[in-house]
């Protein structure tokens, strides 16, 4: 997989993960162009696009579009399931996920994605084990955070 984008119906980028080195300027251009194309498509249309030298697979969940760029020989249908599994993971983690969860906790969404895909390839397909890995790391974080955060808030105030 070359990259994955999440964006809203209003054309706001919510998440972007690039698996091949791409210049910042090109990234912006590609994101803009793709959003335009995908947002213009009607609901009943095919989820696959041929765009530049890439294949684009996208799917809409509520107000969010998930969009993956894959290579010529990759399987489009399984990529749709990659998206779906990612959504399932987010859903399980946040407890019926909505766009706001991803906006406010985008770093968590990135952690989940990193545990699920590594270097653009599927790393772990088991919902249980991905979430376990994430939750354990989270626990570590909170345990460390909670006693200090009060102090810090005071220090800053």
């Amino acid at each position: 997989m070359r990259f994955m984008l999440l964006f809203s119906r209003q054309g706001k980028l919510r998440l972007q993960k690039w698996y091949t080195a791409t210049a910042e300027r090109d990234k912006k251009k590609m994101v803009r162009e793709l959003m335009q194309i995908v947002l213009a498509r009607k609901p009943k249309m095919c989820s696959f696009l041929e765009w530049r030298d890439l294949k684009i697979v996208y799917k809409r969940y509520a107000s969010l579009y998930f969009c993956c760029a894959i290579e010529e020989q990759d399987n489009e249908l399984i990529t749709l399931e990659v998206i779906h599994r990612f959504v399932e993971l987010l859903d399980k983690y946040f407890g019926s996920v909505c766009e706001l969860d991803i906006i406010f906790n985008f770093e968590k969404a990135y952690f989940i994605l990193d545990e699920f895909l590594m270097g653009g390839e599927i790393q772990d397909t088991s919902k249980k084990s991905v979430l376990k890995a994430i939750e354990q790391a989270d626990l570590l974080q909170e345990e460390d955070e909670s006693p200090r955060s009060v102090l810090e808030e005071m220090g800053l105030a």
């Binding site: 980028l13 998440l15 972007q16 993960k17 698996y19 080195a21 912006k28 009607k42 249309m45 095919c46 989820s47 696959f48 696009l49 041929e50 765009w51 020989q73 399987n75 489009e76 249908l77 399984i78 749709l80 399931e81 599994r85 946040f94 407890g95 906006i103 406010f104 906790n105 985008f106 770093e107 990135y110 952690f111 990193d114 545990e115 590594m118 270097g119 390839e121 599927i122 790393q123 772990d124 397909t125 088991s126 249980k128 084990s129 376990k132 890995a133 939750e135 354990q136 790391a137 989270d138 626990l139 570590l140 974080q141 909170e142 345990e143 955070e145 909670s146 006693p147 200090r148 810090e152």
Partner: protein
């Protein structure tokens, strides 16, 4: 996974005071990030957002650089910076702090630090070097979460050059007790393989171990590597075919833990990965394919649930079945699958079905015929993607009979299409079809006109080029040429009389060239009329100056007679004072030539398009002028960028005087473009924004390869096509006469044979009959794109005895005459063979194997080996619940030759010289290949060691080497004939550089044969840096000075200085001298000059100067690319120091 973290957690105290994780969600929404996000959503304009974010960034910037900011606050700041970057704002100031956070934070802060790094940077970013140490440290951490984080970031990106630093640690992790670590390590190695395959060559055995890992997750991860390696070199992994089949069987049979199920389908990702691997292994290999058939059949059978995921598996199965050696039963099932896809109401499946059809249709045109009605429906589909794919499919089934309908459909699409990428692609295809199958002149010219108008200025420049070439070269029939050209002239004149302002520039250029060349052919057309039309183009605002110069050249060819000359004079007046030098020159030419008829006839002879033109690219005819000017004291010419650089460096030691700018290059080719329209159009490609410039630019030759031209010298296709047609002329369109159709269609329910149909249906059927004409009948096989070689043969046979002049009679005759028996035979043969080996038409090897029978296909020892493997491990397969790969048993020969003893095999004449490490290249069950290189004075010797590790002698070893960048010659006395059992044969090659490149690569193949058995071969590649070819060049400062001026290729860069000693310049140059074998000519104050050569006679000079703590280096050489490559190595040498 669970116990990994559990252990880590028990090591930590105060575990009891945990919040629930939903608390964390709430927390962050009240945080500063939350405030920022809410702030942004409340804003209404982009402008306000910009202001807010900029303010935010200023505050982040302030805080991150403050020394009082704790790592915990830093973490929070980083998250905000990531958010701002996602909104599209520049946050590069925070990159370094992200690295610091990953370095210094505790585990939790690290996590954010690593995330920020992986989002901000990419693997070529220089800051990433700073992360290497952190990764190293974390890989050695006892905290498993830290190790996981480090491996994750490594798998995302890592600087290529630093891989050796962490490779041992990552390798070590392959033996880690925790599967999650092993899995991540495997994926990290996969990443390394992708970016630097040579680095991980030595651990192939460990990959095999990963493949046999008891955890299916680790095994699945290793498949990524295998897929890649097998794709690169399928021959090397044939022995694993049976193992992969076994794994797939177990997966399909539901032997994996439930955890791996996805919507109750067992491990679909794993299945698809395995199917892809198997299709590479079975491609063009019958014996491997035979191992695969059974499991494919089972996969097809099992994938029955009506769910997207099973379709994914089915689709992959179909692709695999059509890739490997064909088996009729499976092909039938696959065809049925494709049919289901095509007929599905789900858009995604329909699309993939069409796509599959597109691939398959070349092997099996009947399949397209079966689905013709669906294809017709898709052709008018509202979704452009579906429509586009349908056109692609039609493109593949185009023949001389349906070309007009299909091209019409393609042009229709082009007129509504907005996407440049698609336009470029489709326009190219239409042009190709038009050239190949045009039925007549009018159609051809009109179609090409549409191509030029629609393709406009985005189309590939070779389309107009080859069109003009075609017109100018003509065919064998003079009369036909005249008609075609005349028609072009007439239709272009009427276009110019219309609204020429709407035509794209490229088209105007084509038009002006054609009118300039051929308008004399039209009797009723006066030159003055054409001249006036052309002059009108010059007055249009939209006309580019490039087009204007085409127009002026065309006018120069036409200006004769009183009226013509007066138009020309008018134009000359306007343009002879133009600011554009090219236009001014053209106007001058026009002026002179319009007044001197004799000269014009000599310079621009009529209809001279065919004579080859010699272009003196060295401009030697100007030598006299130049030397005169030099003698008179003029300065030698220098390219503009060089002059600018010198201006900037005016205070530096100046080795040459200022250059004088002469527009020599402009004037040199003034006369040239009469005969070669390409010359100008190449420059047009460069000035326009064609996206394909990278591979088009720079070459002045016409790109005609790949386009099979039927409008060639031999005549039209339209003159030959009927000859082919004669074979099937009695078989009308399949729809109108169902009784005559092939068996395949007769069963198809959608073929409405006799039932009366409503009006729209009928239209569709008519369309279908015009689209699918010529398919499915005997001769169709010859018409299909794939079997083009046979088409040509067919044609030559049919045409052989017919002289070109008689060709036109041939058309009318052949329509009624019965096909010759030779043609019949050919057709039959074709069909017969296509039943058994449809997929292997192109591989002669395959067919020979076919005739030998299946047993002889891949050498018997191979087959035995895999059988044995399966037997060995089969008990454990049944017993355990997890998948255990059939152990592929890495071939670790106990008596494999060590590097040390290979040393003794070095040829005597090389033993005194220093040689590189002997590196293993590849090995299989009978051969181990290693190689090293030895630096000789004038060349580089490559020594290949072939070790025969088998128990029998090998005969007829043949080693073939090839390289894009190198000249390879065999040192004659070292040709190897054979190698005895367990002994070493040595081959020696001498390498010189053809074309410099940073790294050069030699690819080779060893073919050999055992006394009993079939010939076998192994492929390998050997990569070495250019530095091996660099030698010092001893010159004096004066010689250096004169050489410097002569060299035209140069590059400049600032390099880091080695500044730990007293004399940084001398120290740095010494390092370069030592590492790259350069010769330091002289050091003068702050500057140094250095010289070297690429082997014998390709010098490269270097001039360096200390400047503001860095070293500005300027390299020059007569050899293109050499300065750039050397610069790279200098940089590397200094970095490594």
């Amino acid at each position: 996974m669970s116990d990994v973290v559990e252990k880590t957690l028990t090591a930590l105290p105060s575990l009891l005071s945990l919040d629930s994780h939903s608390g964390a969600t709430k927390l962050s929404s009240t945080s500063k990030l939350g405030n920022l996000i809410r702030g942004i959503t409340e804003l209404t304009s982009k402008h306000e957002e910009e202001k807010l974010v900029q303010r935010e960034l200023v505050s982040i910037k302030e805080q991150v650089s403050s020394p009082n900011t704790s790592m915990r606050q830093m973490k929070e700041l980083m998250v905000r910076a990531i958010y701002c970057e996602m909104l599209g704002y520049e946050t590069s100031f925070s990159y370094i702090h992200a690295i610091k956070l990953a370095q210094q934070g505790t585990a939790l802060e690290k996590r954010v630090g690593y995330l920020a790094v992986s989002l901000f940077l990419n693997e070529s970013h220089e800051l990433l070097l700073l992360l290497v140490n952190t990764v190293l440290k974390d890989l050695q951490s006892t905290n498993l979460i830290e190790v996981c984080m480090a491996l994750t970031v490594v798998g995302q990106m890592f600087p290529k050059d630093m891989i050796p630093a962490i490779l041992p640690l990552v390798e070590e992790k392959l033996n880690h007790p925790k599967e999650i670590i092993r899995r991540k390590a495997v994926l990290a190695l996969y990443k390394f393989y992708l970016i630097a395959p040579n680095q991980v060559q030595h651990i192939h055995n460990k990959f095999r171990k990963a493949l046999c890992d008891k955890d299916p997750g680790v095994m699945a991860a290793s498949l990524h590597i295998y897929l890649q390696m097998i794709q690169d070199n399928p021959e090397g992994y044939k022995d694993l075919t049976a193992s992969f089949v076994t794994i797939l069987k177990q997966v399909v049979g539901g032997k994996l833990p439930m955890d791996f199920n996805y919507h109750s389908v067992p491990a679909p990702w794993l299945q698809i990965q395995l199917l892809r691997i198997l299709s590479f292994l079975g491609k063009n290999d019958q014996s491997s394919s035979e191992i695969i058939y059974e499991v494919l059949d089972e996969s097809l059978r099992r994938a029955e649930i009506n769910h997207n995921i099973t379709y994914a598996i089915l689709y992959e199965c179909v692709k695999c079945i059509y890739t490997i050696h064909p088996k009729s039963e499976l092909l039938e099932k696959a065809a049925k699958c494709i049919g289901n896809f095509v007929l599905s109401p789900k858009m995604n499946l329909k699309y993939l079905g069409l796509k599959a059809l597109t691939y398959v249709v070349q092997q099996d045109p009947k399949l397209a015929l079966q689905h013709q009605m669906t294809i017709i429906e898709c052709l008018d589909h509202p979704d452009l993607i579906i429509k586009r794919e349908t056109l692609e499919l039609l493109f593949r089934i185009t023949n001389a009979q349906n070309v007009t309908v299909i091209v019409e459909k393609m042009l229709e699409f082009l007129r509504v299409n907005k996407d440049d990428y698609t336009t470029i692609d489709l326009v190219g295809k239409v042009a190709e079809l038009a050239e190949k199958y045009a039925p007549d002149n009018e159609w051809f010219i009109e179609t090409m006109s549409t191509v030029f108008s629609v393709g406009g200025d985005v189309m590939q420049p070779d389309i107009p080029n080859s069109f003009l070439k075609l017109l100018s070269e003509g065919f064998d029939s003079v009369e036909e040429d005249r008609k075609l050209r005349l028609f072009a002239v007439d239709s272009y004149v009427s276009l110019l009389q219309g609204e020429p302002g709407k035509l794209p520039q490229r088209f105007l250029q084509v038009i002006s060239w054609v009118l300039g060349e051929y308008s004399y052919l039209s009797e009723e057309l006066e030159a003055a009329t054409v001249l006036r039309l052309l002059a009108k183009l010059l007055d249009m605002k939209s006309t580019s100056s490039e087009t204007k110069s085409w127009v002026l050249v065309a006018m120069t060819k036409l200006c004769e007679g009183g009226a013509g000359v007066s138009v020309a004079q008018e134009v000359c007046e306007t343009y002879s004072s133009s600011l554009d030098t090219v236009l001014r020159q053209r106007a001058q030419e026009l002026q002179h030539l319009s007044q001197d008829c004799e000269l014009r006839a000599r310079v621009l002879p009529r209809d001279a398009g065919l004579e080859p033109l010699e272009v003196d690219s060295s401009l030697s005819f100007l030598d006299g002028f130049v030397s005169e000017a030099l003698a008179a004291g003029a300065a030698p010419y220098k390219p503009p960028h060089q002059r600018q650089e010198e201006l900037a460096q005016s205070k530096a030691l100046s080795l040459e005087p200022y250059g004088l700018s002469l527009p020599i290059s402009m004037s040199s080719c003034s006369i040239a473009d009469r005969q070669s329209p390409t010359l100008l159009s190449v420059s047009s490609g460069l000035s326009g924004d064609s996206p394909d410039l990278s591979h088009k630019g720079g070459s002045t030759t016409l790109k005609l390869d790949g386009v099979k031209r039927v409008w060639g010298r031999e005549g039209y296709l339209s003159q030959r096509e009927p000859v082919e047609e004669s074979a099937h002329v009695e078989v009308p369109s399949p729809l109108r006469s169902p009784s005559q159709q092939g068996e395949a269609e007769s069963s198809h329910s959608q073929t409405p044979a006799t039932t009366p149909t409503p009006q729209p249906e009928q239209e569709k059927q008519q369309l279908a009959s015009s689209l699918f004409v010529g398919l499915g009948s005997h001769s169709s096989v010859c018409l299909m794109g794939k079997s083009e070689p046979t088409t040509q043969r067919f044609r030559r046979k049919a045409k052989g005895p017919v002289s070109p002049s008689a060709a036109s009679e041939q058309i009318s005759n052949s329509l009624v005459s019965t096909p010759s028996t030779a043609n019949d035979l050919l057709c039959n043969n074709l069909l017969d063979s296509s039943v058994t080996s449809e997929l292997s038409v192109s591989s002669p090897e395959q067919t020979s194997q076919l005739s030998q029978g299946p047993a002889a296909a891949n050498g018997t020892c191979d087959v035995e080996l895999t059988d044995g493997d399966v037997k060995e491990s089969s008990p454990s397969l049944v017993g355990g619940n997890s998948v255990v790969a059939a152990d592929p048993a890495p071939h670790e020969d106990p008596d494999r030759p060590e590097g040390l003893c290979l040393n003794t095999h070095l040829p005597a004449e090389l033993s005194g010289l220093c040689h590189s490490e002997i590196t293993p290249l590849c090995s299989n069950q009978s051969l181990d290949l290693s190689a090293c290189h030895v630096q000789k004075e004038d060349s580089l010797a490559l020594v290949v060691f072939i070790y025969n590790s088998s128990d029998s002698d090998i005969q007829q070893i043949l080693l073939e080497l090839d390289s894009d960048e190198l000249e390879v010659s065999c040192v004659c006395d070292s040709a190897v004939q054979g190698a005895r059992s367990h002994s070493v044969a040595v081959c020696q090659y001498s390498l010189t550089v053809k074309r410099p490149s940073v790294h050069v690569e030699v690819v080779g193949m060893v073919s050999y044969q055992f006394p009993v058995g079939t010939p076998q071969s192994v492929q390998f590649s050997y990569k070495l840096p250019l530095t091996g070819f660099i030698r010092p060049l001893t010159v004096s400062t004066e010689e250096y000075g004169t050489m410097w001026l002569d060299f035209s290729h140069d590059t400049k860069q600032k390099l880091t200085l080695i500044s730990d000693g007293q004399e940084p310049l001398a120290d740095t140059l010494n390092v370069l001298k030592k590492k790259l074998q350069l010769h330091v000519v002289e050091i003068i104050g702050m500057e140094g000059i250095v010289a070297c050569r690429l082997l014998r006679d390709q010098p490269c000079l270097m001039h360096c100067r200390l400047h503001a703590g860095t070293l500005s280096v300027w390299l020059r050489s007569p050899v293109p690319d050499l300065p750039d490559c050397l610069m790279y190595h200098c940089q590397r040498a200094l970095q490594e120091h």
